[in-house]
Structure formats: C-alpha cells, structure tokens
Amino acid sequence: MSRRSLTLLKNLTRNTNTSCNQTRSVTYMPRPGDGSPRAVTLIPGDGIGPLVTNAVEQVMEAMHAPIYFEKYDVHGEMSRVPAEVMESIRKNKVCLKGGLKTPVGGGVSSLNVQLRKELDLFASLVNCFNLPGLPTRHENVDIVVIRENTEGEYAGLEHEVVPGVVESLKVITKFCSERIAKYAFEYAYLNNRKKVTAVHKANIMKLADGLFLESCREVAKKYPGITYNEIIVDNCCMQLVAKPEQFDVMVTPNLYGNLVANTAAGIAGGTGVMPGGNVGADHAVFEQGASAGNVGKDKIVRENKANPVALLLSSAMMLRHLQFPSFADRLETAVKRVISEGKCRTKDLGGQSTTQQVVDAVIANLE
C-alpha cells in the first residue's frame, strides 16, 4: 500500500509541476472552421536543414497539429529561389525553412537575403532567453533582437571603382527605419515588454544611423509606457557580455542586428536553441533564430547530431502565428521539459544524443 501511495504522490507532484510550467490557460474562442488544416511551405535547405525540418514534421504529426507541409527543395547554390516556391509561399503566407548555405565569395547572392527582400519580410526576430536547466555563464537573459531585414549594409550594391578599390553602399531610408521601429514598439507593447533599446553607430555614421535613430525617437513618443534608450554598438556588445540583464527588446539596422543577435544567442545558450523568424506585412518565414550555424558542419550532418530545439521552438512561434496557441504551448512545454531534464542533449549543449533521440524525447513528453 505504501508503494501505491508513493506513486500517487509522484503523480500529484508531476501534475502540479506541469500546471506551474504552463503560464497561459487557453480561453480563446475559435471561429468555426479555424481547426481545418492549414498549408505551410517547408524548405528543408542544406546541411543540417533536412534533419531538423524532419524533426519538426515528426513532432507535428505526433501532436496531430492542423497543419500540413508542402515540401520544396531549394539549395544555396541555386541562383534564384524557384518560382513555384515563391508561389507556394505567397499562397500559404507561412513558411518554415532550414538554413540555405551561401557560397563565400562566389558570384551567387545569398538566397536567404533574396527571399527576405522579395517577400518584403522587413523584421527579423530572435528571442534569446535562458532555458531552465541549461547552464550558461550568464543568468537572467531574456532579450528579443528585432533587426531590420531588407536594407542597410545588405543592399548588395557593390562595385569596383578601379582595380584594387571596391565600394559598397549602405542604404538607410526613413520608410524602412520607421517601419521597423513601429514593429519593435508594437511587439514590446503586445508582449508586455518594458524597454526598447536602439543600437547604432551614429557617432561615426552620422547621417545614416542618425536617420535610423530619428525614426526610432519619433515612434518612441507614441508609446509612453515603454522606456526607450540608445546604445552604440561596440558598447552594446561589451554590455551584453558583462551585464545582459539590462536589455529587453533591441531594435537595430541590418548588420548590427546580425552581430547582436548572434552574440545574444551565444550568451543565452547557443544558436542551437534560439527561436526566431522573419515577418513581413503579409508573409512570415520561420527559421532557426540566429544565423550562425544554420547550415552546420558536415560532421554534424553525418552523425545526425544536429540540434532541433531551435527549429522546434520556432515552429511553436509559427503555431501561435497561425492562431493555434494551445498546440504551441504543448510543444514549448515539452521541449523545455526535455532540456531541463538534461538527459537528451545534442553536442552543442554538452550532451551526446542524436537528433532522433531528442525528437523522441519531445514526443514522449507531449501531453
């Protein structure tokens, strides 16, 4: 009898634990027909991409989530994203993708950047936070980096003036800066965030980053409940390494956003676990948050040791975007529980498991 009471007690504590983990109770009223399956374009990508997108497919099936994937094969060496893929994304409005490898120094322009420009996905979001159970050097990290995704240094306008002298144009427009500032403040407002920090280098690039800052300041005036401050990018990186808890939401132009997002992801646990996505006015593409390690090394591909956590958490963001919050909550709780238990971890988190083992653990933890 004592043994039975022990298991009863264990069940009780487990139930109270799960209700503590879930921070939201699902009370939203769906409209009739909301539950019909939605199509999502899936681009496996290169390197570890197919592994991790496969992981997402498996988990979605296990959850019986009302989405089905339309898979398209795109590789980084292609010169353009194929027209049928663009058609599909325009129709479905949501896409999930793995990394596309851009050849360094070659004549091919990055397909990731092309996709973002054509669909006008002007905001890139990376949510960097400490996962409970994952030891890192920094505590209390919860930063969202919102990065302008279409212009800035990535305009791709380069030319050789004379042999041996090359120029690259960095373009900043008021329209895009205003757009991204508005998105950042709206995000902060809707997600109960208290502070927005603009990252810049306006002491050197006075006109370009000055224009960016001006736009941010104007938008800040309309949100009096949110604190706004500015920080120079080199000081920002230093502060991120020393005192990351002072940052909340950061809004940055294109290049600095890349650096800041990867640094923040690194201090919070690595790019293998940070979710993120690219959002535009009509479309959204979800992928692993920070761009470093998107494609991974060949050794990881061969040994199947890629970390699917980032893409799983991004797909949870996608489920919320598609207005299926309870599926998103279930998925996130399962993933966080797997990480906090610490038994199934891939190499970048200090463990030895393969991708498949992590996926199985997540499926087992789904309620």
Binding site: H159, K170, F175, M238, G266, G270
Partner: protein, 373 residues
C-alpha cells in the same frame, strides 16, 4: 682582434634584428635604435597625458618605468585649448611632429571637446600619422575573475577605411547612402602586419573575420589580400570565419581564437566585445601602428572626469599599453618584468583600485607594482 670579434658579433646581431623587424617598419633608424636599446641609450618617446584621470595615470606609468630602469625620456605634450590652424584641431603641430620624430608615443584618454569646426582628436592623430592598424591583446587577468577565464587573443583592426570613411550623403529626402570602401593596399598592409605580429609573438593561428557571403566584393577583396599574405607564412595556420559565427564562438568559447584580423567596423565591435570578456576597457591595452614604424600606444577608456584628481583611477590600461610600447621597441626584458609585476599585483588582490573591487588609491597600486619589480 677584440675589435674585429666585436664587429662580427655586432654584424650578426644586426642581421638577426633585421630579420625579425618587419619589412614595412624596417627603416634604418628603428633598427639602429632597436640595437642601441640594449646599450641603454635613452630613447625619447612622446607622452600625451590627456584629460581627466590622464595626468594621474601618466604619473603612475612614469614612476613604474623609472623604477624598472627603462631607458626612456618622456616628451610631454598637452592638448591645447585653442585650435591650431595648421592641424585644424586641438592638437598642436609640435605634438604631431614630436610623434613623427620619436616614432613612439603613449597616449592617455582625451576628451574631445564639443564644438564645431574641428576634427576629433583621435581622427586627427589617425589621419596625420597614418595609423593603419589597431592592435589590442585581450587576455584574462589571473586573479580578476570574470565569467571567462581562458581568453588569450589579439585583435588587429584595419584603422583607416572600411565603413568609417565618413562618406555619406542624402540622396533624396529620407534616403541616405553611406559608402564602405575597401582597398587592396590597405588590406594588404594590415594583413602583413597581422602575420608579422603573429610570427614575432609566437602565435600559431590567424583568423580573418568577414561577411563575404553577403558583401562579396568588398570583404571578398579583403579576404583575397589576407590569403595572399598567408601564403608567405606557411607555418602560421590561416582560417576565415564569418562574423556572426565569430561572435557566437567568442561568447561561448573564446579559447578557440588566437589572432584576429578584420576590417574597420567588425574590428571595432569585436575588439570591444573581447575587452568586455576580460573585464572592460579599464584593463585593456591598445597600440596603433603607423607607416614607417610609428607606434602610438593608448589607453582606450574614457577620461572619467568624475574621479579626476581623486587618486582613485586605475592605471592598468595605460601601464599595459606602455608594456606594448616597450615590446615594440624590443625592450623585451623590461617589458616582461613590468608585465609580470602588474599581473602579480592584481592576482594577489591586496592592492586593487575601486573599479576592480578593491579600495586602494592609484599611488598605493603603483607602489605595489614597483615593489613587485
């Protein structure tokens, strides 16, 4: 016969020194000085104490150097309060001439006064002296605990062009363009210096940091120049790392990197990031290298006007920059001595200034270092 032997010895010494001195800074005077330094002919060096806490920490440096027996005569120059029309800034022509003549200098923190019609002081120094490379070694100080314990890397940053050319204009209302310029000449120069530095300091790996998958022509040119120079130094491993990967690896595992060479903007950000890894700008030395072997070591922290004159400042950054200057002058034994003394004083923990968590004054800290010599 003794004279003949002596002449042969001197000949072999100078050829040894010629071999290690970089071709770009191999002017006759620097070789002669490098050789003469061992025979304690005093070297003249320019000292800019700077503003705020500058004068106090400059005093500190002078005291430590005299106690260590370093044969340097300091020529002090101060930032004037009026604009010198010959240089268009607050630095006088005499100061710049002095640095050009002596070829070495040590600079404290300078506060650029706010106003119109003059160039920033750092910009003046950089342009007039043609300082093309900024070298910043970052290593964890034993005894001062930060979250990272095994940092030991050098960042070498191209200092003249890149994104900081200052060429911007407004195309139409609401659209601004800024030019990023990369030239073959500047990239080759800084790559040469980086590999030469790695070789003379016994470093095994040089990593070039870039974003050539997006900025294909500009960073591509930088990488091409680095590759060319890498071929001349086959014993040094060369690799290329994309900057977002680099940022992530730096915060996860800084021990992976050795020498980093990069263009201007990335260098700015990465060198400050590395300074943050080891404890902040108050502990980071830095040295600017110019054409003709000019070396201007500087402390990169601010002038801290709020603690000026109160004997609370931490002279570590300026002292370590002075050590870098000594190594550039090939006064290696004294450099090692002073370096060890500083490390031991901080490691012991008895005398630490306020920013390191202790309560000593500047003078106590300096005295402790002198005692350790």
């Amino acid at each position: 016969m003794a004279a003949h032997l002596a002449k042969r010895l001197i000949g072999s010494r100078s050829s040894q020194i010629l071999g290690t001195v970089n071709s770009s800074s191999g002017s006759a005077t620097s070789v002669a000085r490098a050789f003469c330094s061992s025979s304690t002919t005093p070297i003249t060096a320019t000292l800019f104490p700077g503003d705020g806490i500058g004068p106090e920490i400059a005093e500190s440096v002078k005291k430590v150097f005299t106690t260590a027996g370093v044969p340097i005569n300091w020529e002090e120059h101060y930032v004037s309060t009026e604009i010198d029309p010959r240089t268009q800034s607050f630095l006088t022509w005499e100061s710049l001439e002095s640095v050009r003549r002596n070829k070495v200098g040590l600079k404290g923190p300078m506060a650029t006064p706010i106003g119109k019609g003059h160039r920033s002081l750092n910009l003046t120094l950089r342009k007039e002296l043609n300082l093309y490379a900024n070298v910043r070694p970052c290593y964890s100080l034993p005894g001062y605990k930060t979250r990272y314990d095994d940092v030991n890397l050098i960042t070498i940053r191209e200092n003249t062009e890149g994104e900081y050319s200052g060429l911007e204009h407004q195309v139409v209302r609401g659209v601004v363009e800024s030019l990023k310029i990369i030239t073959r000449q500047a990239s080759l120069r800084v790559a040469e210096y980086a590999f030469h530095y790695a070789k003379t300091h016994g470093r095994e790996r040089v990593s070039a940091i870039h974003k050539a998958n997006i900025m294909q022509k500009t960073d591509g040119l930088f990488l091409k120049c680095c590759r060319e120079v890498a071929e001349k130094y086959p014993e040094i491993t060369y690799e290329e790392v994309v900057i977002d990967n680099c940022c992530m690896m730096l915060v996860k595992n800084p021990a992976l990197f050795d020498v980093l060479v990069m263009p201007n903007l990335y260098g700015d950000i990465i060198s400050d990031l590395c300074a943050g890894l080891v404890g902040g700008l108050g502990l980071t030395p830095s040295c600017n290298i110019g054409e003709d072997g000019v070396a201007l070591a500087e402390a990169v922290h601010g002038s801290a006007p709020d603690i000026a004159g109160k004997n609370l400042a931490n002279p570590t950054a300026l002292l370590l920059s002075g050590v870098m200057m000594l190594r550039h002058l090939k006064l290696n034994e004294q450099a090692e001595q002073i370096h060890k003394a500083i490390i031991n004083t901080i490691a012991e923990g008895k005398y630490r200034t306020a920013d390191l968590g202790g309560s000593s004054t500047t003078t106590d800290f300096t005295k402790a270092i002198c005692d350790h010599l």
